[in-house]
């Protein structure tokens, strides 16, 4: 057993951080506890709900099932890094426009997931958007609004 902390470099929301983390600390806990970026939520902590979704080197992943040490040298984007210079991201605006949340707990994960999904470019219909957003659960049942919001951005504001 070697409980020594390891030094890692993480670029989080375009800021470079050097962190001392124990090997068993998840990326989620490192973001929340070490960097105090509490926008990323710990829902189930077992990869079942999607609330902890972040972008890692541009791809949506679950931060709860990643060890921080595995991500040494990676670029991470959390919900705190989505808006640019005080301007909300189109997905964020669309979530407000379409009432895409009630309690808001799943929202940071939903938004990171939606941005990752649009970058993947594999969803070409509402059915496919629903399928490819299914890794993010919403207990309030705001899914219709969530899919509407994503569709609007995907269709460049033309979706009704």
């Amino acid at each position: 057993m070697d409980p020594k902390p390891q030094t890692i470099l993480l670029n989080v929301n375009q800021q470079q951080h050097q962190l001392e983390v124990l090997p068993w600390v998840s990326l989620l806990d490192a973001l929340r506890e070490s960097l105090h970026l509490t926008g990323t939520k710990k829902g189930c902590d077992h990869g079942q709900c999607g609330a902890c979704t972040v972008l890692c080197d541009g791809k949506r992943i679950l931060s709860c099932l990643s060890l921080a040490v595995m991500k040494d040298g990676s670029e991470i984007t959390t919900i705190e890094g989505i808006a640019k210079e005080g301007e909300l991201h189109p997905i964020q605006k669309a979530f407000i426009e379409h009432d895409a949340f009630q309690c808001g707990y799943c929202t940071p994960g939903q938004i990171c997931s939606a941005i990752g999904m649009l970058q993947e470019g594999k969803a070409n219909s509402r059915e496919e958007v629903k399928e490819l957003m299914s890794g993010n659960l919403c207990r309030c049942g705001a899914n219709v609004g969530i899919i509407d919001a994503v569709m609007e951005v995907k269709e460049g504001g033309r979706y009704e």
Binding site: M1, W24, G50, L62, L65, M70, E120, N124, E131
Partner: protein
């Protein structure tokens, strides 16, 4: 979560020597199952050897191989499912992968790791319940317990857990081969010999030896890209494990079947294939009657437990429906198509 130590391997030989003969040292790739098992204290691992950055393009790429494809063990499930050569030549594999887990998990999970995921049996995950898979000799809680999701084929008195992968159901149907390397060198396992039935050793999921590492998966030339279908039946429409799934590949001449592959998921401790049923279908017409007869052969000997008798009928119908869907994949396999 268990306290663990963590090492990064730069090469395959280094990874193998770091794990060696110690069963408490394990390879770490995507981590989507292993890290969860650590959180539940379900593995004794005390050291993880991270293989994500090992040198060698073969582990990280998909490439041509003897008329087929070689899938690097460290390629993610998402990159595999969306790879143009896989989509074109092995759409059955692509569909099966995309039926599993969630997009986030598929972005993390690797091809090698997919083969090594452990069962989702409730009692395996409940550290307070006896489980022969988790603690050999302690008993099986699933047999007298809530057995709704459990196996109907190939079970033993010691374990009725099912293997949860979708990808592996397609790999079984496609006759894939698994390339592994260990301290004693390289070897190749036919897919049918990779996973095990529980028998009296349910703690062993597969036939990897201690310290052996999966390096790649080989797909033979025939991908059944003309007539294929993957059908997954589950309690919700997406992001759930299969109650029953079926992978079908057919080679047809007109209405006549020249070759058939049918593999089942969600019903056994490994992907379930019955050669006798595939031989029965050869040179027969592709119709419901013949597929139903093949389903009877596949499900011969199926045993229900207290809560899962429905799976036998469900599997029978799923086989017939999926084989019919394979006759017209353009319609049945388009994105968003309802099963």
């Amino acid at each position: 979560m268990n306290n663990i130590s963590y090492k990064k391997a730069q090469s395959v030989p280094e990874a193998i020597s770091l794990v060696g003969g110690d069963k408490d040292k394990q390879f770490l790739a995507g981590g989507t199952n292993l890290i969860d098992l650590l959180k539940y204290f379900l593995t004794s691992a005390d050291t993880l050897v991270d293989i994500n950055k090992i040198e060698g393009s073969a582990y990280h790429e998909i490439g041509e191989n003897e008329g087929g494809l070689r899938l690097g063990a460290l390629v993610t499930n998402a990159d595999t499912a969306y790879h143009p050569l896989v989509e074109q030549r092995y759409p059955l594999l692509s569909k099966a992968i995309l039926a599993g887990a969630s997009p986030q998990i598929r972005n993390m999970a690797t091809n090698g790791g997919n083969l090594l995921q452990r069962t989702r049996c409730y009692y395996f995950y409940d550290a307070n319940a006896p489980c022969n898979k988790r603690e050999p000799g302690s008993g099986c809680s699933a047999i007298p317990g809530y057995s709704r999701i459990m196996a109907i084929l190939g079970t033993s008195e010691h374990c009725i857990a099912v293997f949860p992968s979708d990808m592996c159901v397609a790999l079984a149907a496609l006759d894939a081969k698994v390339n592994v390397v260990g301290t004693e060198g390289e070897r190749q396992l036919p897919f049918s010999e990779f996973h095990r039935l529980p028998g009296d050793t349910p703690h062993l999921d597969n036939n990897l030896k201690q310290g052996e590492l999966i390096t790649s998966i080989d797909l033979p030339e025939n991908g059944f890209a003309q007539n294929y279908s993957y059908l997954k039946l589950r309690d919700r429409h997406s992001y759930a494990f299969a109650l029953v799934s079926v992978a079908t590949g057919l080679a047809l001449e007109g209405e006549v079947i020249k070759e058939a592959r049918i593999a089942l998921g969600g019903v056994a401790h490994k992907p379930w294939r019955v050669r006798e049923a595939e031989v029965f279908l050869m040179d027969k017409k592709a119709n419901e009657k013949n597929f139903a007869a093949a389903a009877e052969i596949i499900l011969k000997g199926a045993t229900a437990y207290r809560f899962n008798a429905f799976k036998i009928g469900l599997a029978r119908k799923a086989i017939v429906r999926n084989c019919m869907m394979a006759l017209n994949p353009e319609e049945s396999q388009h994105p968003g198509a309802r099963p």
